[in-house]
Amino acid sequence: MSVVAKEPGYTSEVRDRVENFHGQQLLYIGWDNHLMYSNPLCIPVAPDMPFSMLPTKILPDLYDLHPDMAKVDWKKVEWLRDGKSFTPDMNESVAGNGFGHKSVLRFATPGLNGLDGRCI
């Protein structure tokens, strides 16, 4: 469907196009079954940042207050890119792993499902 507008052919600016982020793109991040962090997060990243920075540095830092984070075995993590399961290439960049502007990276940590396994 398209907008009901007084003037035919109405369009408006795409306010969040990637050019507006000064060379970076947005990456959304969600840790499944961990609702202590009430919602998925949003960070700007350089598209050519090595993907391996995420498990080694960025994710542990974003979720450092969750007691499960210290126990994560990154080799066993299950990754989802835009809702579909995938295996990241740790030698590739974020963009090289198929993450575009405003993509969602989700990860699940089998065996670690929040406080007392309650998805918190």
């Binding site: 398209s2 007084k6 997060l41």
Partner: protein, 525 residues
Amino acid sequence: MNTVATAVSARAKKLSQRRKYELLTRGLGWDTTYQPMDKAFPFDTFEGIKIHDWDKWEDPFRLTMDAYWKYQGEKERKLYAIIDAFQQNNGQFNVSDARYINTLKLFLTGISMAEYASHHGFALAGRNLRGVSARIACQMQAIDELRHAQTQVHTISQYNKFFNGMHNPAYMHDRVWYLSVPKSYFEDAMTAGPFEYITAISFSFEYVLTNLLFMPFMSGAAFNGDMATVTFGFSAQSDESRHMTLGLEVVKFLLEQDPGNVPIVQKWLDKWFWRGYRLLTLVAMMMDYMLPRRVMSWAEGWEEYFEKNGGALFNDLARYGIRMPKYHDVARKEKTRLSHEAWGIFYNYTHAANFHTWVPEPKEMDWLSQKYPDTFDKLYRPRLEYWREQQKAGKRFYNKTLPLLCQVCQIPMGFTEPDDPTKICYRETEYKGDKYHFCSDGCKDIFNDEPEKYVRSWLPVHQIYQGNCFRPGTDPTAPGFEPLKEVLQYYGFHDGMDNGEFLDSPDRYNWEKWTSKSAVAGDRP
């Protein structure tokens, strides 16, 4: 002098209210002749609504301007007399406890400014509808909404002398992340055509959902000893009942005018039910978490005011071919988790809000267990207890990373799957090569229906990352630049005073010093 006016001057002086209303709404109108009516009223046809006979629009209250001024003037005099007495008696210290004040901060920044936006929208709708009675109804409602915003600001300004976070509501409304929720709601309505605006605000909000806004705030205020708020609430309430009646009248008028209007109105009801319901998330958390003395739970309120009363209303509208709004079943499923998810979001981000959050006291948690037997102990109590432990150990939990926001309702995506309260509900769509994210099917459908409109949403998180939420002259590349601190400055917040944990707040400290009462008394959860 036109013929109607001549007839009036020749007749007896005293006119009935009905006659006066007829003269006002029929006798004073005219069709333009120098310019075509379509040019004078260019906005009331593009939405596809067909009106064959504007005279069928009847304001059930038949209010005329002289009567309007008289009633409203009386209300104002009473209100300000009570506010004076409240101020002289230091009424702000008679509320249940200092946590309660945070509901007023939420109200003043979230709702009073929305009243002002509503005024703006009705003034615009009044200008753009060619039917005289509709224009007069919009005009009166525009003035009502302006009055509500003013009386609320005047009432709550007394609290501003003693408590933090309510020093500049209008400024905050245009900038602060969570206030983009009510702000974008009204701007969405205002940038539609006039018929969608009045259907959205007069019917979907005022008629269907307003009880869920005013009832909890006003009875909450009464229950918590806040007589000032109760007073402006009553003063506004008499207007609200007029608005509600008008809302129903509007929808029936549109449905009766042309069968082609029915699917258009249904689409608006679907959209604005969901928009309004999402907006009420703020009310849900207020009812269950922010009132030290609780009136009823969100779930009970939803059952009473939407499932029961709303259900009856839509049964009544079925004869026009109108059905229940889409996703009302999702709202039903969410009712036992909405407030908990919302409070979780604000607990995460209260360092960037102008009001405080806290973990409920043990007896308050027992109340929540009793009201939410299937969800609270299992899903939410352990999280709150963990947060409490951390806070006692000096490690109060704050989420330092900005949230993913829904493109339509603009609330952080903390809502869960309709059938699984442990999984975040992710919905996504792609439009012209860009991805867009939504908290629900309801918000996703609204986007997909008019993507051109929502691609330009001003999402606070993205605006911060684009560098648009710093004060002029700020250099984000300077060494030691702290984005969050700068954003709080841009919001006009006083870091360490307006924001953060209630137990660590100057509000708590001051309350205990000034009143010698506990700031977390809430004697009757």
